[in-house]
């Protein structure tokens, strides 16, 4: 499984990429493989304020709907509209074109609670 070194991770299989005062969030390669064929993604609305670990999006495979959680407190500034017509990007390019949303973070210190790649690798075995 691909676990890029330059990203942060959550227990619930989201990846986080720091982009200035924003973070880009998606689900990991491991998560997309577990979910199987993604057929629908419900994205968060712009300007929505969320707390850490709040359900913010839904990724649906053929078999089931799975909640996606906000890794830290913040405000949604953008979402990946490409997923509306092509949800399978989550499977084919989970760390790239398959990103889910961009979050403006309240406090950069919150990111310290997230896992680094080595820790996440241990988690998924």
């Amino acid at each position: 499984m691909n676990v890029p070194d330059d990203l942060l991770y959550t227990q619930s299989h989201e990846w986080i990429k720091r982009e200035g005062e924003n973070i880009r969030v998606g689900i990991t390669d491991h998560a997309q493989a577990e979910l199987t064929d993604v057929v629908f993604v419900e994205l968060p609305k712009k300007d929505r304020q969320v707390n850490a670990k709040e359900a913010i999006a839904v990724v649906e495979s053929v078999k089931a709907a799975s909640d996606i959680y906000a890794p830290v407190k913040g405000t949604v500034v953008d979402a990946n509209k490409a997923l509306e017509s092509n949800p399978a990007l989550v499977n084919t390019d989970p760390f790239g074109e398959g990103w889910l949303y961009l979050l403006k973070i309240d406090n950069a210190d919150d990111l310290k609670q997230l896992k680094d790649a080595a820790t996440y690798r241990t988690q998924i075995g």
Partner: protein, 360 residues
């Protein structure tokens, strides 16, 4: 995943070896997918797919009075079966609630094979055993047998001399004694094959090897579910339950009310006379939206009229499909309904069964 002991089919090692994704399914651990649900689904619609169905129960009823007695236990008319023929039928409780749906094969004059759902096999056995006359033998051979479903339009290239639809034959294949039944749960031509558990791995691997040139793929329960739902074949535990009867489920065709006596008959006669309160209707989503799922509420003009039992994104049709129990007055083809998904209503329409029709 619970660490409780899980039952493994005789093909478990093959699934793991070939990289299937395994999940708990009732008491069993089963492959949910190999290459992917959508990929396997298309393999069955276009070429051939093979499924492990070894978890299904296989009961044997044996004795001079077998047919007469089974006719009082099951809804379809078993006397119509000739040796080598099978039929879809129901095992009901006294309230006409569905204990199980199954296929009964007459494998000799006075000997029947009942292929039942994995999750109900024990319950079926106990129910039948409790009602069994002493001079009839009831056996459960499930633990000693395996089975696969081989499904798809090219199955007649893979296997020659197939029995006719709903018939079962015993043959020798490469030193293995197998029973081949022309039936399935996908809407495609196909067979279900039963064999001794010790032959399971050899049979599975041989078929995959020979089937390679016909595009065969090993498949999991995920594709089995999308394929059956496109055909509106019911799944026990989802669309069928002890709280529902075959008439509500739209499966009255498999109930012979002209038989003088069978469990649940009196209740079904009343249901037939008064009409069922709800019916199992097939629907499809209109426009883009999330796929329907079990237990979503169904509305019509703002009024709650039912509940989704099965739902998915149809890989063949590429829109959301499902089946729902809907109040009888609204359960009509063409009725516009709304499916409530995470607090929002999405439009859908009741369609004729099956939802998927093969292009000829």
């Amino acid at each position: 995943m619970s660490e409780a002991a899980q039952k493994k089919t005789p093909l478990y090692d093959e699934h793991v070896r070939r990289g299937a994704k395994m999940i708990p399914f009732g008491d069993w651990i089963m492959p949910v997918q190999y290459s992917g649900i959508v990929d396997e689904h298309h393999a069955v619609r276009k070429n051939i797919g093979m499924f492990d169905i070894s978890h299904m129960g296989q009961l044997i009823v044996d004795g001079a009075a077998a047919a007469g007695w089974l006719n009082t236990m099951l809804t379809n008319n078993i006397e119509k079966l000739q040796v080598g023929q099978g039929q879809y039928t129901f095992l009901l409780n006294e309230a006409a609630g569905i204990i199980d749906d199954l296929i009964a094969y007459r494998i000799a004059d006075h000997r029947f094979l009942l292929v039942v759902n994995a999750s109900r096999a024990e319950e079926d056995f106990d129910w039948l055993d409790r009602h069994r006359p002493e001079d009839l033998r009831l056996g459960d051979r499930s633990a000693y047998f395996g089975g696969v479903a081989i499904q798809g339009p090219r199955v007649n290239e893979l296997l020659i001399d197939l029995p006719t639809r709903n018939h079962i034959v015993d043959v020798e294949l490469d030193g293995m004694s197998v029973s081949i039944a022309r039936t399935g749960y996908t809407g495609e031509d196909g067979v279900e094959v039963f064999f001794g558990a010790s032959d399971a791995a050899k049979f599975w691997n041989t078929v995959l090897e020979i089937g390679e040139k016909f595009g065969i793929k090993p498949c999991g329960l995920g594709a089995r579910d999308t394929l059956r739902l496109e055909m509106c074949y019911p799944l026990n535990g989802s669309d069928l339950s002890p709280e529902r009867n075959p008439i509500e489920a739209g499966l009255g065709f498999f109930v012979d009310l002209t038989k003088p006596k069978f469990t649940g008959r009196d209740v079904l006669l009343k249901v037939k006379e008064n009409g069922a309160a709800q019916k199992l209707a097939a629907f499809r989503m209109e426009g883009k939206g999330p796929p329907p799922r079990p237990h979503y509420a169904v509305f019509n003009n703002g009024e709650r009229i039912g509940e989704v039992m099965s739902g998915t994104l149809s890989p063949s049709l590429n829109y959301g499909i499902g089946m729902a129990y809907i109040n009888a007055p609204q359960a009509k083809v063409g009725t516009k309904i709304d499916i409530e998904i995470r607090g929002k209503k999405f439009p859908a329409i009741i369609e004729k069964k099956p939802l998927y029709k093969k292009q000829s």
